[in-house]
Symmetry: C2
Subunit: 426 residues, 2 copies
Amino acid sequence: MERLPLEELGGWRRCESTGNISHDSGKFFTVQGLDVRFPGSPVDAWTQPIINQPEVGILGILVKRVDGVPHLLMQAKNEPGNHDGPQVSPTVQATRSNYTRVHQGRPVPYLEHFREPSGRVLADVRQSEQGAWFYRKRNRNMVVETAEDVEVLDGFRWLPLGRVHEMLAVPDLVNMDARTVLACMPALGARVPEDDGFRAALIRSRDPRQAAVHGIGEVLSWLSGIRSTVDISTEPIPLNRLRQWRRDDGRISHDSGRFFDIIGVRVASNGREVSGWTQPMIEPVGTGVIAFLVRQIGGVLHALVHARVEPGYTDVVELAPTVQCVPENYDHLPPAARPLFLDEVLGAGPERIRFDTVLSEEGGRFYHARNRYLIVETGEDPAPGHPDFRWLAMHQVVELLRHSYYLNVQARTLSACLDSLSAAAR
Amino acid sequence: MERLPLEELGGWRRCESTGNISHDSGKFFTVQGLDVRFPGSPVDAWTQPIINQPEVGILGILVKRVDGVPHLLMQAKNEPGNHDGPQVSPTVQATRSNYTRVHQGRPVPYLEHFREPSGRVLADVRQSEQGAWFYRKRNRNMVVETAEDVEVLDGFRWLPLGRVHEMLAVPDLVNMDARTVLACMPALGARVPEDDGFRAALIRSRDPRQAAVHGIGEVLSWLSGIRSTVDISTEPIPLNRLRQWRRDDGRISHDSGRFFDIIGVRVASNGREVSGWTQPMIEPVGTGVIAFLVRQIGGVLHALVHARVEPGYTDVVELAPTVQCVPENYDHLPPAARPLFLDEVLGAGPERIRFDTVLSEEGGRFYHARNRYLIVETGEDPAPGHPDFRWLAMHQVVELLRHSYYLNVQARTLSACLDSLSAAAR
């Protein structure tokens, strides 16, 4: 992987009239502009570059029980944006251009298990990805259980589910695509709460028979109200019509140096569908903080979700972690704009921190995009009745994850990480 | 109500560069163009006018139990597009411009019961409307149960639910907005199947404990697959860039005379928020046929739903009735393009027809838009295994109606009509 000025990307063209960057084939994705008006928010209007990738790809994990223990067929995959080598990836992770072979590469292995499933489909739901960087991107998240003999190709391995759960605690090891599919996977075995501690409250939280603070109808009505009244409008615009962004030194950057850059890279890879290519990528500035505050209510663990607006969402608002931000991006704004609960999360003592690992976002579009994912337990409600936040039991999160666009990709990662904590005493 | 050439609409302007027609306030809605590419369909590319109304309005019905019997507060409302006088409408039917009083009219009565519900929220979900005529329109469908004393204003009346159900069988009486809210309303009382006939199978079909041909996970996976692979792209374009549409004689029409016209009207109304106004409307050509084929499977009634693409849908594909078309629109196309099951429905003998009533679509945007709604029982599956159709039990429809964009507005009308048949032997 080497950096390359945007002007030198072979196979990509810059449209003369709009400045948009797209692939010669018309496939893959386009870097374009977005005009956002969001009156009443800390920044009430802005423009930004955004990736438009209208195709729906497949992220699929193949599951097989070996002696009753669920095993996941995972791939060690190197992506150009990865921080530190290959990461544990789903069985299949393919854009439609990939699997319809626009770039005339090799066929995607195991794809047939998801395109024409002969096994049992345990999950199959389109979910959004980063709404700050992608314009209405959705991928199809699938889990298929097979009973067949499946040949294990080079670079793939059957891993016990518990092993994958342990790997989530290792920095930059399980990739974003694997995490979102793990979040959509239903429980593959019942667990029994053994005591009255955190883990027991978490196990109860996954049990749909347990009570939650708000009924699911109440949660849906809350979100329906916010989605109906939030006053954001977005409009795709030409990339050369951005305000406060400049094209300089072979990249596109914000005048402040904040947020992210659009960069170019050349990839010389083996083990991928094609042998080498160039592409634009998003390189974020800073490491984000993404956290769930969790709390035992009546012996059932609840997570505090935030109804969050991101300009690229298909449906305006999704449920996000309690905290999701890059702290430096708020340095120039007044203190009132500082993200709620950020200080609460960063100031928590180690006895309250249940999970704390830096994980990477998708390495196919994002260059060294890393976030510190935290799960922090609290004994009290830091903002009772705040209109943009609700406490949800995890079985409610699981129910919502059967449908599209309720939980954002960061909340899905945290949901997978939280689930992993119920697997074993640590 | 009188017709008016589009050029003479006071308060509306035609943009010089695009030809788009919008209100001077920038609110309400815009008539613009849409470019549709849908390779592989009978017409693989076209352009059309479409209404862009980005605001989310509220359609709300207030419910109150009187001696245990649910009563609905309904309004007799006259709309400019109504075929034959006032129709039975929800308690509240208001665009956001209405209720934030952009046109400086009177406040919307009963709105506070939905904006700040003090009662029990029985349903609260944003749903799409006609995807052939609206670009990504959504309204918030709400049912709120109150125990308070509510003053009954002029033009409003508490109607027992059973009475509203009977009214559905009367032509052009219950308006579209009332029907979609009725569809989203959960069952307000248990019914017991009394025999083994159609009505008993229908009552069992509403009971979530009853088996269905396909599990809900299987239904969701089917739809996820179609939504992920359907190859339609739509792009808003200026109204003056339409192909095969002409502006002539004060209206916009298709060269063939088919589909619909954009017309202008002047409304002189009393009993509305403002005393008079002008506006553009859609006037469809022909009366549509909209039908569910239903079938008893294991004593449980199932309806045959169609995964249907309409260019204005937020999420590409929604579940539609078995048949939904204006038959004349297909006269010029080859026989293979004729809608599936249309002949099956129109040729059914009276002993198989469970519901057959002409109902109006929304009279605020559509002028004399009427469809013949049919529910036809069949003893056998006319197209086993067709990839675009599935048999659903009604409790599955009810479950999907808690979430946005699964059932289209025509299927919601038929769902409400079907539900009404369970109320009483006829």
